[in-house]
Amino acid sequence: MSAPRPRISDNTRRDLGLAALTAALFLAVTIAFPGFAAPRNLAGLLDDTAILIMLALGQMLVILGRGIDLSIAANLALCGMLAALFNRAFPEAGVAPVFALTLIAGGLLGACNGLLVWKLRLPPIVVTLGTMSIYRGAIYLLSKGAWVNENEMSRDFLAFPRGQFLGLSMLSWLSLAVAATFMVALQRMRAARDLYAAGGNPEAANYSGIDPGRMQFIAYTVCGAIAGVCGYLWVARFAVAYTDIALGFELSVIAACLIGGVAIAGGIGSAAGVVLGCLFIGIIRSSLPLVGISAFWQMFINGAVILVAVLLSARQRVFKRTILEART
């Protein structure tokens, strides 16, 4: 008996399904509000979703390795405050040092999570629940509770994410570049394939010479570095830094991953899926005000979509169950 060769993989089928769903949602909104598909509005949509896309891609790495990063938004806020304070102290330094600072600081914060999970073998949800509070608290200590406002930020600092190129903001371009890098890297880099293996079956990975804890450490570090840079981008975009920025945003990030088809149990997920998941959330978020219903419905719809996505993947598993002996 030779099994039929699947023409497209499960991953591709899942991504295509989500793409169809997102396109349908987009079409529905466009039919109701033709202005929605205007290039300007679409560029705005991408700009609004750019940070979510980058964070969700980072979070995906962590989830692929059977972890979770609840501290991602707190990390973002702390690095955002660092960026703002650095800029206030050295207004003439330009954007490059701010990038380097937030990249390194965020990476270190992520590495703390990773080390606790790897070396002390603590459960990821507990570790990042703890560091989430610690990082938030650190912002307060750093800023003494004060805000850093637009007038305390240098022109370059504020201008970078808003800069326009070919009709899109630099923020949008950055998120597209990160997404493209993830798509290639996750498919082709050996380290990334090891991460999929470690998340899929940590014990088997260990027997294959992969240390699953080390892979988690790397995932947390990369995720943290992305969160750090997003901290700067967030603060510059909204032109304010304070203790509570992006409060609760980690849940939107995790939601985007789940809608994007990342398995919460690890080992399964694609960059394309996550980007689609973010766009799905972005479309709902920007179309609800048009329809004239409250933001509560956005949470409601996100939740419903997550449950439906989980339900569908659970059904797939039921169909796979084969009890009777295969006929020869």
């Binding site: 030779s2 699947p6 880099m189 050996r190 260990n206 010479g209 796979k320 009890i323 009777l324 002996e325």
Partner: protein
């Protein structure tokens, strides 16, 4: 010519104060299958982990091809050419078969995986093995037998010359075993050194050229399989003569306790009918996938039947000792006492308040009755050997005093001593008037223990034999497609 490819001399390994291996030696010649025999806890798994680079020996020497080597991690084992087919089928269900073969060893340039080469090489290896599945399938879709073939393919992609098979046949059907043995013989003839770990003596005599016996971490004997008998191997392994393996006690069938009529569940089994009387052991034989476990699950109420009638004698309780003791049978992190108490809480804690003292007392009673080897009632079950775990699962149900006991593969993967103990308990239960439905793929066990045998194939009953009619030929013919 039998020159050694891999030699282990005086290997020692301790965990905490416990000595797992003590002066263990093993010799693996090229072009031969060496069977490694020992009870659970004899040190076989530790040895496999040392050879695969998971553990480091405390002392001793490993020589590969005449050179002393250090296997410091799994990568080093792979580079040397030592491949392991693990008992638990360590597969990455989320990855394709092709990627499974090359995990952590993908053909790559500058860190970037070359998928074209990877798929091509995977397909070539699978073709050489006559595998019946495609390299692009997700590994999660494969059967257990196919996953074993995949593990062999994985070893071959790394040009392994030493292949270790750790109880590969534990969950395979007869036909799948034959296929596995064909591949193993081909590897042997190609000059590989094979280490074969198995509890099944018929397989050892069928396949192995040489044997090595471990007892309590020490190698006690080694030699040619042709120069030794079954009984000699058993006494070497246990260190004492073992009593009768199938202590079948003669019983008089009593009243009917269970009647099953035209029971069906879509996709699992159809039109199953039988009766079971007190004092009887009804063996249920068949290949993996014949629908036997699914039948047991319906009888015990885990799943509902689509049609049919099950009649249970008034007041007769059923108990099920499930196939997978680690997942369905015992709660591994719980203590022995807590496991045994679990189905008995209604009696132990009638007002909803648990009493550790009452639970320990019950556990102690069963530790003595079944000869469970444990430090005490508080020891977590995951510290026990497979055989003792199984005894705990049996104890927790027998403590309820059921009249009908359903056993699903009661001795799968447990050593000879524990097997004899499980058989003794089963016989005793039947003699005391209980009825036993014993599902097993172990033919000698079915023949030795059953008063009657039901044979299932593809979800249907294909034969009903009395003890006198039940011969291996009859049962095998009914169970297979012949």
């Amino acid at each position: 010519m039998h020159s050694s490819l891999l030699t282990l001399t005086d290997i020692r390994k301790s965990f905490g104060g416990v000595r797992a291996l003590d002066r263990a030696s093993l010799d693996l010649p090229r072009g031969a299958v060496t069977a490694l025999i020992g009870e659970n806890g004899a040190g076989k798994s530790t040895l496999v982990k040392i050879l695969s680079g998971i553990y480091q020996p405390d002392a001793g020497e490993i020589c590969f091809d005449g050179q002393a080597v250090l296997i410091s991690n799994p990568q080093a084992a792979r580079v040397l050419g030592i491949g392991v087919v693990h008992q638990e089928c360590l597969a990455f269900d989320n990855l394709s078969v092709a990627e499974n073969l090359f995990v952590n060893a993908q053909p790559a340039t500058r860190g970037f995986v070359n998928w074209r080469v990877l798929r091509m090489q995977a397909k070539a290896v699978l073709r050489d093995l006559d595998a019946d599945f495609d390299a692009d399938l997700p590994a999660g879709r494969l059967s257990i037998a196919q996953k074993h073939v995949m593990q062999i393919a994985r070893a071959l992609t790394h040009e392994s010359r030493v292949l270790i098979f750790d109880e590969p046949t534990a969950s395979l059907s007869q036909r799948e075993c034959a296929e596995l043995f064909r591949i193993m013989r081909a590897l042997r003839d190609a000059g590989c050194a094979l280490l074969f770990i198995s509890h099944k003596f018929d397989e050892i005599f069928e396949l192995a050229n040489r044997y090595a016996v471990f007892r309590d971490g020490v190698s006690v004997s080694a030699g040619r399989v042709s120069e030794v008998t079954n009984d000699e191997l058993i006494s070497l392994m246990v260190g004492r003569p073992v009593g009768q393996l199938f202590p079948k006690l003669a019983t008089e069938p009593g009243v009917e306790l269970l009647r099953v009529e035209t029971l069906s569940r879509a996709g699992e089994f159809e039109d199953v009918s039988f009766t079971l009387r007190g004092g009887e052991i009804l063996g249920v034989y068949g290949l993996v996938g014949a629908g036997r476990t699914e039948l047991a699950q319906v009888l015990f109420g885990i799943n509902a039947a689509d049609s049919g009638v099950v009649t249970v004698a008034a007041g007769a309780e059923l108990a099920l000792v499930p196939e997978d003791r680690q997942v369905q049978g015992a709660v591994l992190p719980f203590s022995l006492a807590a496991n045994i108490a679990l189905p008995n809480l209604a009696t132990l804690a009638p007002r909803g308040w648990c009493s550790a003292a009452r639970e320990s007392q019950l556990a102690r009673q069963w530790i003595d009755r079944l000869g469970i080897k444990a430090q005490g009632p508080d020891q977590p079950v995951h510290h026990l050997s497979g055989g003792n775990q199984q005894k705990v699962v049996i104890a927790k149900w027998l403590a309820r005093n059921p009249r009908v006991l359903i056993l699903d593969e009661p001795t799968k993967g447990i050593d000879v001593g524990a097997k004899a103990a499980v058989h003794a308990v089963t016989s005793e239960f039947a003699r005391a008037g209980g009825a036993v439905l014993m599902i097993s793929s172990d033919l000698p066990e079915i023949l030795g223990m059953s008063d009657r045998v039901l044979v299932m194939r593809r979800g249907r009953v294909r034969g009903h034999f009395t003890r006198a009619q039940a011969t291996s030929e009859n049962l095998l013919r009914a169970a297979s497609d012949a």
